[in-house]
Amino acid sequence: MRITTETFDENARGALLNRPLQAALRHATHKFVDNRRYAITELDDWEDRRQRSNAIKRETIEHLDRYLEEFTTNVEKAGGVVHWAIDSAEACRIVVDLIQSKGEKLVVKSKSMATEEINLNHALEAAGITPVETDLGEWIIQLAHETPSHIIAPAIHKSRADVARLFTDVLGIEYTDDIPKLTAVARERLRERFATAGVGVSGVNFGVAETGTICIVENEGNARMSTSLPRIHIAVMGIEKVIPKFTDLALFLSLLPRSATGQKLSSYTSFLTGTKRTAEAEGPDEYHLVMLDNGRTKILADPIQRSSLFCIRCGACLNACPVYQRVGGHAYGWVYSGPIGALLTPQFIGMDRGKQLPYASSLCGACKDVCPVKINIPELLLDLRSKIGGESGSLNGKRPRLAEQLSKKAFAFIMARPGAYNLAAKLGRILQLTIAKNGKIADVPIAPLSNWTKNRDFPTLAPQSFRERWKREQENSGKE
């Protein structure tokens, strides 16, 4: 897929000017936020659960080698075949080779961020294999040749009219924007695919070390179909998705659906452990698990950023983020968007290509408050910013200009001295007369401030400072 992280500013501006997208984003993110807020009230120990999940994730990540060994040994004991992939190229090669060696041509896929990350569909198509996405949202964006714009709802950016036109153009059906009818089309068309595909590819939500079980959470039933009907099941799992105990699933399953969609449990939660035990049992004959590194060990090596590996991909931070709410997922330029994307993307694809993303945040902390595994996203974003800027502290990696250095020194000087502060405020009130319009400053003509106002307005300084007003009010009341 084309990576457009380097043009985040332009992507964001385009998104802000796209009225239908703005309406779709507002509707979707607010609905997600409301659903989650309502769902968590049902548990009286939500904060305890977040704290527990954070502790379990920390324990697992800090002993990742031990838990991975236990997990994959148990997968193999139960009859699964485990493969290891250092990067996306190796992961794709493993999957393609497997499918070709079995002589299969058609693959049904259930929603998986890991396979988006490695761009598996592209590799399959290049090898003459047809991948069919079966999650409704994923299918829509596959038909439209687009990429997901949300972890949970990949086609969140499309209106029903967009989907209706797409189905008419690509599938040749009569135009309808009736959502149940459009959904019925997906059911009918994809049933044929489920019935004939030789291979099902899925992601993994959790891998349980104790039992070698993989857990897949979904609402549509397409993951059950993909892992039950084809004769071969291939699962792709990031190495950070392991948890220690089978009973830990209860905790994580109380957090994930509530945070993602506001459900107590998703419609279908599958626990798959190895291959079938008897010839009579239902389900695939073969089960392969591809364990994916692809940069995760690099994140692990950073003692601060390590905790970003706790992420369970619920999407709650996207919905809560004032930046995501306005610019949407595509602006972030790669598969992971929102606050967690701003953390993961630069580390996965390289700091130089993703350096704009950690700045796509006002550090308001809404992401941290909703994160079910308590990742301190704002602190991690600040840490990434410091790493990107290096010692210079500047975004483009160059030595800061003299003007920038001087202005920072001047700012520090003024903020530390009340007299200087008052003087500067008075001066500012006079200077702003030249650029303020309708109570806001839309454009400061001097760089680097002009960069800031390029995408935002700045409120004008009030005609009176609070201190001045307070003083006057006190004097007035004294007279009465």
């Binding site: 800090e62 279908y268 626990f271």
Partner: protein
């Protein structure tokens, strides 16, 4: 076919992990103490009432039967009223217990029995598997047993070995599950404890919580994407 040097990659990944973990974590938030719930969730009402409430809230139908005959009557009635002719029964003890198979014959419906036991050889087994699968894709109602019901969330747990509930609960348009009230458990932690026997769990376990659904177009809830469009539950309270 290219040789996949997976062994080598595994060694590389583990070496990288070990090296990475030599640096201790820099913890920004040490966190605060927390409590782990030690007992199952308590409900104001009994398990059956909570279960029925939750199942209903999910948009599924729920019928409480006081006898096998009452359960059988309800199911046959539902099939007749809907004009359904293609019925599948999984070979599960609780389904057999209701005597549905013969009751259906009396209204001239020959149900598809989902059962893969007793084939003479592999060939016969694979033919039967193919046939049953093809039939299930055309079936209007699949009737199965369950391993547990979870009261807290209105969830059905499917995954008993050799009960053949997996496809019959997934492919038909309607899924009707029958369970006895003594199969009800309070919450998910209790169910997971029951499913885990000293580190051994069955190969395929599915928690079913309501009918198949999506909200992928404009976040509008739509029932029945790939899984069953309708979920019906019969609770045997004998």
């Amino acid at each position: 076919m290219t040789v996949v040097k997976s062994g080598q990659s595994k060694a590389t990944i583990f070496a990288t992990i070990k090296k990475a973990l030599q640096t201790p974590s820099h913890v920004i938030d040490p966190g605060r103490p927390y409590k782990v719930p030690s007992a199952p969730r308590q409900f104001a009402a009994d398990l059956s009432t909570r279960f029925v409430d939750e199942v209903t809230r999910l948009g599924a139908g729920c019928f409480v039967a006081r006898s096998n005959d009452e359960a059988k009557g309800y199911v046959v009635d539902l099939i007749r009223k809907r004009g359904i002719s293609r019925v599948a029964l999984s070979n599960s003890p609780v389904v057999n217990q209701t005597g549905l198979s013969s009751a259906l014959s009396s209204i001239s419906i020959r149900p598809l029995i989902v059962d893969f036991d007793g084939c003479r050889d592999e060939n016969e087994l694979s033919v039967r598997k193919r046939n049953i699968r093809e039939s299930l894709l055309q079936t209007e109602i699949g009737i199965t047993g369950v391993t547990y019901g979870i009261a807290d969330t209105g969830t059905l747990v499917i995954g008993g070995d050799n009960e053949y509930n997996r496809l019959a609960s997934l492919l038909p348009v309607i899924h009707l599950a029958i369970l006895r009230s003594d199969q009800l458990l309070p919450d998910l932690p209790t169910a997971l404890e029951g499913l885990n026997r000293d580190g051994h769990v069955n190969q395929a376990i599915t928690l079913i919580t309501g009918p198949s659904r999506t909200a992928d177009i404009e976040l509008t809830l739509t029932i029945g994407v790939h899984g069953p469009k309708e979920l019906q539950v019969v609770l045997l309270q004998i």
